[in-house]
Every structure is written in C-alpha cells, then in structure tokens.
Symmetry: C2
Subunit: 446 residues, 2 copies
C-alpha cells in the first residue's frame, strides 16, 4: 500500500492506510495504548486496541523515536475528543499492524523538557526533531526561497560566488585564515567584491550562501558562520532604488509567509509583519534626534547606533507609524567601507542604509562607487593598497553603471520573525567561539 | 522615460525608447556610426545619423564597454538587412541622444579574440561579459534553481549546512585546515553527515552550496571549491528509489532548459539531453564486461572505473540505448565510504551508484546504513574512531529510517551540458592549485 502522509489522513476517514514515521509519545493505558506518530507533514494520534492482540503487543514494545510503518484504519474521533489545535485533531488511527523500521535508545531527556542552550546544541540530531524547532527551519527554508523567487522575478541572475578568497575583501573585518597549498587564504566575510564585479556582467545578481566572521564576541546576535542573502544591481538612481526593492521583497515575503507558514508562526505566537506603504526612513542624525527627544539619551555625537538605540528606534517606528521596520540612512563616510557612495548633497555622509526590524539591524546596503578613479582614491584614503584590489578594480576600469545592493542575514531575520532570542537557535548547526557541533576543548589542549 | 530592455524592443517599432547598457562594438563608417549595445537581456544594433549632429558627435567619442543611456527611435530594418540569428535582428535603433554613465579604459584585448585560459581567468571581470561566457552562468543559475524547484515539489526541505567542520567528515579526503580561535577546523568536503542527521528531522532534505577538496591535481574535471547539489531522503526501499528520483529530476531539468535556455544551448551548438524511459543501468562488474567485450580492455579486476572507462561506457550507452546517461551500481564495499549500504543479495558490493553523463561522472549516491550498531562497526572497520563521530551517531542512536541520497557537482554538470572542455570555464571564479582570482606566487615567497 502506498504511504499516506499524516496531514493527508483527514481526507481518508473510514479507509485503511499505510503511514510511517517516528513514535513521538506513547501513553500506555493498559487496554488502550495511545501513540502519537510524527512524520514530515505532522502528528497524529493512534490507538492500539486489545482485540488486535498482535498489534497491541507490538504497541507495548515500541518507544519514543522508534521508526515504524503502520497499517491502520482512519476513524473519526467522537465530537468531544476533537483537538482543534491539530490538523489531524478530528481523527484517530486504529492500529492494525506495526512494522518496526528502526529502534531508538532511551532518550537522554524528555521530549518536552526545557533544556539549557549547551544541552540543546550538544544534542541537535535529537533536539532538531522537536516540533517547534523544526518549524524554525521550515520558515527559514521558505524565507531563502522567497528571496530567490522574488529576485528571479525581478530579472536577477543567481551567482555562485567564492567563499575562499585571497585577502580580506573589505579591510577591517576579522577573518579566518585557511592553509591553501602553502599559501594563506581567507574565508570570505561577504561576497561584496564579487557581486559588484558581476553587475558588470548580469546587471542584476544575487547570491545566497555562507559567510564567515572571525569575531570573538559571544552574543545572541552574532554567528561565526552565517547565511548571507546578497543582491546587487546596476542602473540605479541612488540608494533609494535599493531600499524600494527591499520594501517590495519584504511585502512579498510577508505574503508568502502568510500563505505557507501560519502554522509555524502560531506555534511561536509570532506575528507576520505587515509592510506598510512606506517604511519610516530617517537619516542617522534625524534618528539620533528622535532618540534624544523621545528617550532622553544624547547620542547625536556618535557616528553609529548602539544596540539600545536600534531598539528604541524600532519601538518608536512601531508606536508612531505602526511599522516593524525602519530605514536609517546617511551613515558617516568613515563608518562605512571604502566603496560606499558619498552623498554630494550631504557631504561627509553616505548613500547607505541599514534596515531595522523589531529592534535589530537585519540589512546593510547602499549605493556603491562605480567610478574607477574615485574608487582607487578611496581605497588609498582607507589606508588600503589599490594593487591588492586590482582584480576587482578591472570591473570599474572597463565600464560600470551606477549600482548598489544589500545583504540580509538569514538567521537573524528568521530569529526576529519568530521572536527567538538567540540567533544560534535560528541556525541549524551554529559555530561560535567555543563550539563546532560539540564544545571545543581549550586551545592549548588541542 | 522608463527604460526598455533590449529584447523587448521589437514590440516597440515606430516608438521612442530609452535604453541603457554597454557599448559592445562600434563601427565608424564616417557618416553612419553603428553601435551594438548590450544589456542584460540582449544586444541591439543602433545607428547614429549625421543629420543629428549632437548624437553623431557623441557616437564618435564612445568606446567599447562605456556605459550609456540612449534615447532612440525603434526602426524596422530593410528586409535584406535582417539578422535572423538575433532576437532584435529585424530592428535598428536610431540614436537621438547619448548620455554617458561611465567610461571605460581601452580594452587589453579584442572582444572576440581567442584567449588562453590564464588570460581569460586573469581578466574575469571583463571576460565574463562575453556573450557566450554569460550564457554558461545563466544556464548554471537555471540548473541550480531547477534542482530546488523540483525537490520542493517533491516535499524536500532546504537546509543551510555548515562548511566549517571539526574534522574531515568521511575520512580519506584531502582537507583545507582553518585556524579557528586557536583550534584547527576544516572546510567541509561534503554536507554528507549533516544531511543524514537532517533526514531524522525533515525526512527529505536538500542543500546547495560550496564544498572544498584540497586535492592537488590540476585537471579539467576538478575544482578545489565547487558547488554541490545535495539531497538525502528517508523511508526508501533501497538505492533504486534515489536513482528513480534523479531520473525524474533530469527529465524535469531537460524540460526547463528546453523552455528557458534554447538560446544559450544554440550558442554552444549543444544539445539538451533527452532522458528516456529508463536510464541504462549496469553493475560495475557488468560495465567492466561491456568494456572488455566492446572496447577490448580488461579492467574486470579493477575496483573502480578510470576516466577512459567512463567515456567508453557513455559511448556505449549512447550507441546502444540512445542515452546520454548511464547508471553504474554496486561498487565494492571497500571503495565506498563507511556509511554505504552493503547489498545483502550481493555481498561485498554496495547499494551505491554513480551517474555518468557524456563521459564523466556527475553524481555519486546510494543507500546509507541507518542502523546504529552496523554504522559503529563500519566506522571501526574503516579504521576511524566512533568517538569522533559521536555527534553524527546520535541521529542513528535515536531512530533513523532506511535512507539514501546523492550529490551532483553543479559546475561539472553545467560544463557537460554545454560541451565545455574545462570545468573551470563553468565556474565563475575558479580556485585551483595555483590560483585564487590571480595566480598565486610561489609558496616560499608568500
């Protein structure tokens, strides 16, 4: 008999079916044995009755996480037993036969027990199976694909950009060195230079993939290996074209999540953001004035925002404009990388932006310098050597239109969407200062 | 005026349009100046007439790769001037106004000049702009997205798997060491162990991303950083379920390429493969008998196929079955990684397969061992330490269904589809023994 996925069972009331999955929970009431079975589509309650001696005996032996194939009958539940929270809550499977595909050892902790972060991470092959944890990564898969779908629709071409580079691309970031056939290579901190080169080829380009930051901080917002959603496009007016594109993407994303992920958002009691007509947009200096006026802290002399400032601005955007998002533009020239475009109309400040979402920055973007001479000049002004950028500079030497782009951190976006505190819990296998899968031993004992 | 993309121009005959792009070629006939303009959609011929003095003067100054915005009129070409090879071959743009967005320096070589591989690679920001080179990566983008579309349709979940790992996952492969906060980490050679873990979570999972091989060979088939299209699925009967899935994917891919990439295949005079009812499938030993009988070389004692053997088998599959593809199954146990399933019905040989396509292996796959005890036993038999795999082994300790999967090398598939000799030319920014963007200096001078 062909396998039926659990969430398709309600359409088969009265029929005999073959289902398969993991024993999620087993409750032995003596005569009646209740088993919740879990597969990729959902969860269903089954019952083994004493009149079927063989199935009943088998139901006595199975344990949580055993993998089984079940032949069963789809029965309607009595009205008062219906569980409205579950797609299969109006049915129950009467177990006719159990075939064990794989056994499992006794679990190291209860399915629903609260775990500290290290225990959770030490046991990911098991803890990732929890319904609410699975949900995070189903949402994440939907986000990354929405990004691609949207951009393909906008005429972008996907590029496979290298993560193994000859030098630290932008200067300044902490990088991981790689031993490369007797040379030192580095893990890329961003696909920035490559995606810019590719504007000269495809005009509109995107890349999705891992990037690396060798920063030693251990916060709830940072990862050493993360997934960057990158785009870059030519023939723009200025950075506002990029911001408008991001706003359209976010609108699309909200629609997609509302269509495909309401179940997951419900599990997290999280709201899918609505993107209004126009995301509130302030220059950094305006934002600092808002903070001073509304929250009483004078940060108007600072060249950047602190995390607390970002939280305040998000709070203000929500309160005053009903928006989960806020754009901050015009960071000072010296706070942005060498390729950032200075605003001629506002000297000393750049055509750059950050996007804040529910208190945290999820995007950095802007217009880039497309003029070769200006770019070389800036590389020098940033204390870098143009010779080190000769490969990249070819793209500008041979004709580059005005262009810009942005990058979104996938894990951070996922976490903020679902209201997850620590970005590590929105990363399948997070790497940090102390952990690659398991905790690292002390460096000197390595 | 809103910009029109070049390939949309034939719908606007008689109208005035704004177009933008790069000067591809400029032919100055004195009175008439012809300019081919290139944008992301295509190429169009423009003409500057002497009666428009300003536009004519501007047309005299522009040079190849300058980026320009053109106001022009869409005229029909006289019948005998129509170029049937070009989507815009029946029209010509009369230049009304030229606005220069960016200049370009004189090119280091002619647009169409034959280049040796090193020159091509040294100048990728420029050489990637060539029409036939762009085409390679448009096809590649279509392939990777077809892979995702197909698998999402089959109920797979995308996973972001780490490329930074604690040890060489499978044992045996050459790995790049990374300096990781005082520890030594490694670049992943495959997402194998992670995707298997995730079968326990999502049942069906795929991952697309860069992988790393620190192998020192310098061939036309190998890359040190490549893109792996990986999938893994549970609840299979055996490896033939995976092979059947791949056959369905290839059928889908052919359809997609026929719908979206005929122009690119035409440029390369390459044929989109047709996938027949059933891809010819031989056990390794049967394949070796075919080679002996048909090509006169006795390799029946070998545990694996040499490149020449793969070419012969492809030749034979094409000749006898009209197939561009051939599956080879049942490699010896000791030639495959520790997690490969032995065929109980054919002891000493595995439920594994390679897929040959036009003379080269593009996929390796098979059923994996899902039983914990057997897996531990095999890890030991392969001379590896189970403790080093304790993280991975949790997935099997706590219930794993029969499962299997495969990996496809994206660049190799792209190259073979288009008939490109060297896989480096199907890689945007290839890394090899001697090159990361530019040629590496000698190790001892580094």
């Amino acid at each position: 008999m062909e396998r039926t996925y659990i969430n398709d069972l309600p359409g088969k009331i009265g029929g005999e079916v073959s289902i398969a999955g993991w024993i999620d929970v087993r409750r032995d009431h003596g005569k009646l044995i209740f088993i919740d079975l879990r597969d990729k589509s959902g969860l269903v309650q089954m019952v083994a009755l004493p009149n079927n001696a063989e199935a009943h005996a088998a139901a006595q032996t199975v344990r949580p996480e055993w993998v089984v194939e079940i032949r069963g009958k789809v029965n309607k539940r009595p009205e008062k037993m219906v569980n409205a929270d579950l797609p299969t809550g109006a049915i129950e499977i009467e177990v006719l036969e159990i075939k064990v595909l794989a056994r499992a050892e006794e679990l190291p902790f209860d399915k629903d027990s609260e775990l500290n972060l290290d225990t959770y991470l030490d046991n990911l092959p098991l803890t990732l199976r929890r319904q609410e944890v699975q949900a995070v990564f189903r949402v994440q898969a939907r986000i990354i694909n929405a990004f691609r779908e949207f951009l393909i629709g906008e005429g972008f071409t996907e590029a496979q950009v290298p993560k193994l580079t000859g030098s630290d691309a932008e200067g300044g970031a902490a990088v991981f060195p790689v031993e490369y056939f007797g040379h030192t290579a580095y893990l890329a901190t961003s696909p920035q230079l490559y995606k810019q080169i590719l504007v000269g080829v495809f005009e509109r380009v995107f890349a999705t993939g891992n990037m690396y930051r060798a920063e030693k901080h251990s916060t709830t917002r940072h990862l050493n290996e993360y997934t960057s959603l990158d785009l870059e496009m030519g023939f723009i007016k200025d950075h506002t074209d990029i911001m408008a594109l991001e706003q359209r993407f976010l609108t699309y994303l909200s629609e997609v999540l509302a269509a495909d992920c309401t179940h997951e958002f419900k599990l997290f009691k999280a709201e899918i953001p609505t993107v209004g007509e126009k995301i509130p947009t302030w220059k950094l200096r305006e934002a600092q004035e808002i903070i001073k006026k509304e929250f009483g802290e004078d940060c108007t002399k600072e060249p950047d925002l602190e995390p607390q400032h970002e939280r305040w601005l998000s709070e203000y955007a929500k309160k005053e404009f009903g928006s989960d998002f806020a754009f901050i533009t015009h960071y000072p020239v010296k706070k942005r990388p060498f390729y950032t475009y200075e605003d001629e109309a506002d000297p000393g400040f750049t055509k750059s932006f950050d996007l804040l979402f529910r208190g945290v920055e999820i995007t950095t973007g802007g217009q880039r310098i497309h003029e070769y001479d200006k770019l070389v000049e800036n590389i020098k002004a940033w204390g870098l050597k143009p010779e080190k950028f000769s490969y990249y500079l070819q793209a500008f030497k041979y004709g580059m239109p005005p262009e810009g782009g942005l990058a979104i951190g996938l894990e951070r976006l996922t976490a903020k969407l679902l209201g997850i505190e620590n970005v590590k819990q929105a990363t399948l296998f997070p790497r940090d200062l102390n952990r690659i899968d398991t905790l690292l031993s002390k460096p000197d004992s390595n």
